[in-house]
């Protein structure tokens, strides 16, 4: 029995780590820019396709891991500067429409360029098989995902908590106006954070590619779980995003394994409960 539990827990961890990489960007964007970035799932999807393109062109997964997030980050920066910046003073509804429009745009763009069929991205040969961890069998690639994700989590934590740049970001999330008042070019920080969030979303997409392949609507599918993680963890909180995604990852995995009929419902109930009982999420700032 314990081996069975452990194997599922590993599955949940791999999925949770993926969600984490995706939701970190979303929570920072939410927390600092107050933007409901519905197109965040699109960054995930674009990342997977960028990864596909790089692997097809160069044969190297590792190159894809480096290049794709950069490309997506650039796209994010472009969108922020040209379309989002004019909207900061406008009601949040306008941002909803804008980002919704980008969902449609990107999904069809990808269909146009790559066709609507699902495309697979092979994992690097190093991780092609499966291994055994404490008696539980898991594909080697998923083990890599877990390790990679945890390392990224530590690096991100160091960045946010222990560097000057991180301090600026944290200040911006806490109170953007005050931070601007301190003489910091908040607009550059906004663009930077948006681009960084987008890049992380793209990275998450590349990592997910070998597991779930690339298809045009994958962004839309992952968007809701990502939004749920952000709400459960707390807007703008890195720690919240980490804990939230691990929790949701386990909840969905064990839900599928043990309570298949309720699997779909579970995460929604969890989210509703959190919003009602503790709306700021596990680690967010208490609401004004």
């Amino acid at each position: 029995m314990p081996a069975e539990l452990f194997a599922q827990a590993l599955n949940g961890l791999a999925y949770g780590v993926l969600l984490f990489l995706l939701s970190v960007g979303l929570t920072l964007i939410f927390g600092m820019l107050d933007v409901v970035n519905l197109a965040h799932g699109s960054f995930y999807m674009l990342g997977a396709y960028a990864g596909l393109a790089v692997v097809a062109g160069s044969g190297s997964f590792w190159l894809a891991l480096l290049a794709a997030p950069v490309a997506i980050g650039l796209i994010g920066a472009l969108i922020e500067r040209s379309c989002l910046r004019p909207l900061y003073r406008r009601p949040p509804l306008d941002q909803v429409l804008l980002t919704f429009g980008f969902i449609y745009l990107f999904e069809d763009l990808v269909k146009w360029l790559w066709g609507g069929r699902i495309r697979s991205i092979p994992p690097p040969d190093l991780f092609a098989g499966s291994t055994s961890v404490l008696g539980a069998t898991i594909p080697s690639y998923r083990l890599f995902v877990i390790v990679f994700g945890l390392v990224m989590a530590v690096l991100l934590w160091l960045l946010i908590e222990r560097t000057r740049l991180g301090a600026i970001i944290r200040a911006g999330v806490f109170d953007a106006e005050m931070t601007a008042g301190l003489g910091i070019d908040i607009r550059r920080v906004f663009t930077g954070v948006f681009a960084f969030g987008a890049a992380l979303g793209g990275l998450s997409g590349v990592i997910a590619g070998p597991i779930q392949s690339a298809y045009p609507s994958m962004g839309v599918t992952i968007l809701i779980p990502a939004l749920i993680v952000v709400v459960v963890g707390g807007l703008g909180s890195l720690k919240g995003s980490f804990v939230g995604s691990l929790v949701i990852g386990q909840a969905e995995t064990f839900g599928k394994a043990w309570l298949p009929d309720a699997a779909m419902l579970i995460i929604y109930v969890v989210m509703a409960a959190i919003v009602l009982v503790r709306p700021q999420g596990l680690f967010g700032r208490p609401l004004k």
């Binding site: 194997a7 699902i118 597991i211 392949s213 064990f254 394994a257």
Partner: protein, 219 residues
Amino acid sequence: MLSAFKETFIPGGGKVVGEDYPKLGETDYAPYLTKIRQSGAKAVYCFFSGTDAVNFVKQFDQFGLKQSIRLTGAGFLTEPDVLPAQGKSALGVITGHFYTPLLDNPTNHRFVREFREKFGGKMPDGFACQGYDTAEVIVRALKAVNGNTQDKVKLVEVIEKSEFESPRGLFRFDPKTHNVIQPFIYIREVKEVAGGLNNVPIDRVANVADPGTGCTLPA
């Protein structure tokens, strides 16, 4: 679909050790695959198509389950639209379908050749065959009634009697249920053949008629 499978599998002596129903559009089958491994099953029968089929077959392979468990399923699991994405993971997978482009009859040879010429080398699948057959039925029926579609009763009669050589074999309707009587249902295995991966017929069942469960259209 799965209850139909059980209807004949269990009386045939088979034992079912587990069942699962992942949602449509599921991307991560890990929890289900772990359960399959832990159930000790010797084979898996499933129904997936499109994106789901690609992800399931690939993940099945990634979890190393192909070594000890035979993967089988309804035909859509390994149709030409998903085989390229599945790659080597699909080798050895067994499915049942009324069609495979590798069927050895003159109509099919011509069909596959002309299809690939017209559509840039794309391999026709079961849906392509169905589309072609449907068009044949319509054209023949229209010819038989001389283009007069006002008399609906006659039109239905004429369609009911459709009979012609389709890429899948002799195409006929069952007069009782108006379902197609499949000339053959092929058991196919994915193998590497000239030109890439494809579904090779390894066995077949002749003249399969769907008894139908009696559905009715509202008046």
